[in-house]
């Protein structure tokens, strides 16, 4: 992940300035990465309102705890870690009212009914986003960070605060579980007709 703006200070420099009392620095850092941070929050919690709350929690936390940043990872990795943690915290808090249980095809069908028939959907992203909801949160977060945001497994492990092996495992299970739901988006529905959804539990 890039850590510097070609025309401006690096992320680390902005964070240093923020800690030193520069009231503009954190805002610049936030604006530089806000779309990616929004994407990881939205796709992890699968709800715009919850994502906004999670991102707000995360940014306030990052603002206040910037002095704790030790430079052991890129600033973007640190920011993403805070956002993922805030997003997973949100999901835990609403665990009493889960929108979906993992692998629940009936619930998926309900989602599809809301978003439109995936076979005829024009907006691919809607289908992918809907399919992501099928995944357990930890698998979803891993897949979002690795496959959708393009972080390396090592960086994803730092973001998710787990081992690279666990990241690989979560991603593998998530891909297998998603396949039947997104195969039609690859232009061939045969896989979704012949492959049963994976039934593995969350890691």
């Amino acid at each position: 992940m890039p850590d510097a703006d070609e025309d401006g200070p690096s992320d680390q420099e902005l964070l240093r300035r923020h800690v030193a009392g520069d009231s503009d620095a954190f805002g610049e850092l936030f604006r530089r990465h806000r779309d990616r941070l929004w994407a990881v929050a939205l796709r992890t919690v699968c709800d715009p309102d919850e994502a906004a709350d999670a991102l707000q929690d995360a940014m306030v936390s990052a603002f206040r705890r910037a002095a704790d940043f030790r430079g052991e990872s890129a600033v973007t990795t640190w920011l993403h870690r805070i956002v993922v943690n805030a997003s997973l915290d949100r999901l835990r808090r609403r665990a009493a009212r889960p929108a979906l249980s993992a692998g629940d095809e009936q619930a998926f069908e309900a989602l599809v009914a809301q978003d439109g028939d995936p076979a005829r959907a024009v907006d691919t992203r809607l289908d992918v986003d809907a399919a992501l909801r099928i995944l357990p949160p930890q698998q979803r977060a891993a897949l979002v960070v690795v496959d959708m945001l393009g972080f390396s497994v090592a960086d994803a492990a730092a973001i998710l605060e787990t081992s690279p092996g666990t990241v690989k495992s979560r991603c593998a299970r998530a891909r297998a579980r998603l396949l039947p739901y997104v195969a039609h988006l690859q232009g061939n529905r045969s896989a979704s007709e012949s492959v049963s959804p994976a039934q593995g539990g969350d890691t």
Partner: protein, 288 residues
Amino acid sequence: MRGQMTHLDTDVLAEFRAGLITGRRGVTIAAHLAACDRCTALDDKLAGVSALLASVPAPPMPDSVAQRLEVVLAAEVSGKNNYAERAQVDRPGESAAHDQRAARHGFRLATWRVLVPAGAAVVLLAGGGYGLSRLVGGPGSPPSFSSAAGSAAKSASSAVPSASSAARAGSPPEAAAAPVNPAASAGSQLRSPNRIVNLSPATLGQYVEAELRLPLALRPMQTASSRVRGCIHLLAASAPLQLVESAQFKGQPATIIVARTGQDDTVWVAGPDCSAGHRDVLDTVTVP
């Protein structure tokens, strides 16, 4: 692989692709893939999942969320800087320098100090293009506010006032932080919806917490409107007032009223119809 099964299942293939299966078992899977069109096709499909996910563009942050977060972060900045910001009320030269410094960036909380005809001092805060008007006093202002108002006026007059900067008041952040001509623009600023911060239930508590970090003597505490004073009396009764500010709440004109109630502070968001005889409360929260 499961015993003598002919074909690989999706989980095994996914783990194999992720490098989680190696050694003899990995060799066996690779050999099977080389000989089985069906499993190779499934493997291709799995590879396509990652490719599909990578191809989906990241959704841009909605403007409403961006605005909300800018407000929240501005409140954080305000919480850190307001001691120095308000201290500069008594040092107008430094205040002007602060405003000019803050104007260089999009994310800031620059202070505009202007006069209003009734003799009340009005402080407009603009952070990232959003502003909050504060009615601090009036004829009955306590001495501390009278002093602040006088200094504020001096500060404004020393802060390079210009008509063009007033015209930029509602502009995007890059142009919004210039000092304002107090005589020419005070009224119009107060009427401009772009100049009032639009709080929401999500940002209210945090914003108030940041404001309450100011010393009590430096917080705006009184409005010029008898209606609002009646509303405050109705809501807070005799509870010690901590803060009274005008703002917008979910797009509606509102007055933020905070009073100490027991161990906590109670925040009322009074609507435009709130008065001594009519309880119009848009929201209420408790902050520690």
